[in-house]
C-alpha cells in the first residue's frame, strides 16, 4: 500500500528508494505509520517464535525411532458413516483463508473511506476467526477424549501430543486475540472513529484507517502461520 507523502520529501521507487530510506536523516521508513512499522517488527519476531516451534517439531519427529502417528487418520472424521481423512483441518483452512480475504477487502474499503462496507467485512472476518477457534476447540476435545496427552497418545510416538498442543495452541491463542481485536475494531469502525479521527482508549493518537491495515497485517500473519502448520504438521 502506498504511504502518505511528506511535504518536501520525494520518495524514489526501487533500490534507490531503499538506499535513500536506510541512509535517511533521523528516521527510516519515512512516512510509514509508526504502528505499521512496529507491527511488521512484531510479526518478524513472531515468525521466529513459530519457526522455533516448527523446527523443534522437525527435530523431535526426525530423531524418534518410534513411528509417527498418521495425521490423515488421526485428524479424520466420520461423516455419514464414511471416513474422510483430514476433513476438519481442510475446513479450518478454508475458513481461515476466507476470513483473510474479507480482511484484505476491509483494508481496501477502509482506505476508500467506505465505513459501512469496511465494518461489515471486519465483522465477517471476526466471525470467520470465531468459527476457526470453535473448530479447533472441537478438535482438541476430540483428541483428548481419544487419549492424546502432551506425554502420551495411542497412535504412536509420544512426542506427537506435546508438539500438537504446543503448536496449535499457540496458533489458536493468536487467532483468539485477533478475534477480540477484530470485534473491537468493527465497533470502532461502525462508530466512525476512523472518520472523525477520534482518539483511542489508551492513546492520544488520532484514529485513522491505517489502523485497519495494521490489524489486517496481524490477521494475514495468523493465516500465514496456518499455511506452514497445515503443511508441516498435518500433511507431512
Amino acid at each position: 500500500m502506498s504511504d502518505p507523502k511528506i511535504e518536501g520529501y520525494e520518495f524514489k521507487p526501487g533500490f534507490k528508494g531503499m538506499a535513500q530510506d536506510t541512509g535517511s536523516d533521523q528516521t527510516m521508513f519515512k512516512g510509514v505509520h509508526w504502528g505499521k512499522a512496529m507491527m511488521w517488527i512484531f510479526l518478524l519476531s513472531d515468525t521466529f517464535i513459530f519457526s522455533c516451534f516448527l523446527i523443534s517439531y522437525m527435530k523431535g519427529r526426525g530423531s524418534t525411532l518410534v513411528d509417527w502417528p498418521n495425521a490423515s487418520q488421526v485428524f479424520g472424521l466420520h461423516v455419514f458413516g464414511v471416513e474422510v481423512p483430514l476433513l476438519l483441518i481442510a475446513i479450518m483452512t478454508f475458513v481461515l483463508i476466507t476470513s483473510s480475504g474479507t480482511m484484505a477487502l476491509a483494508v481496501k474499503y477502509g482506505y476508500e473511506k467506505n465505513r459501512k462496507m469496511c465494518g461489515w467485512l471486519i465483522l465477517a472476518t471476526a466471525i470467520g476467526g470465531l468459527i476457526f477457534v470453535g473448530m479447533q476447540a472441537f478438535e482438541w476435545s476430540k483428541l483428548i477424549h481419544e487419549g492424546v496427552r502432551p506425554w502420551e497418545n495411542p497412535f504412536g510416538a509420544k512426542q506427537f501430543g506435546s508438539f500438537f498442543f504446543m503448536i496449535t495452541g499457540f496458533h489458536g491463542t493468536h487467532v483468539s486475540i485477533g478475534v477480540i481485536f477484530l470485534f473491537i475494531y468493527a465497533y470502532k469502525t461502525f462508530k466512525g472513529h476512523y472518520d472523525e479521527g477520534k482518539r483511542g482508549w489508551f492513546t492520544t493518537i488520532k484514529g485513522d484507517y491505517v489502523e485497519i491495515e495494521i490489524l489486517g497485517l496481524y490477521w494475514h500473519f495468523v493465516d500465514l502461520v496456518w499455511v506452514f502448520i497445515f503443511a508441516f504438521f498435518y500433511l507431512w
Binding site: 504511504d3 483463508i97 473511506k113 499455511v227 503443511a231 500433511l235 507431512w236
Partner: protein
Amino acid sequence: MSETKKQEQTTTHKIGIYLWIWGLLFVLSFFSYMVDWYQFQGLLRWSLILLFMFLKAGLIMAFFMHLFWERYALVNVLLWPMTAIGCFIFLMVAEFEYTVFTRLFYFVVGG
C-alpha cells in the same frame, strides 16, 4: 511527537486483484488437500506440499500484506532475517540425524 502532514486519500488497488488472489489461495489449498486425499508418498508428496505452501505464503505476503507494493527497505528488512531460520533448520537437521544415528547405534550395539 509531531504528526506528519498526509495526503487526503491513500491510493488503493482494484477489487479484482484481491478476488483473484483469494481464488488462487482456495485452489492451492484444495490442491494441497488433494495431496493427502490421493495419499501421494515420498519425494512427490514432500515436494508438492512445499510447492503449494510456498506459493500460498508468497501470495498472502505479496498481495494481502501488500509487500509487492511496499518500499524495498521494508521488504529487505523483513525478508533477510529469514535466512537465519534457514541456517537454524540446517543445523537442526544435522542434529537430529546425529541423534538418530546414536540411538540406532547404541540400541543395536549396546552402550
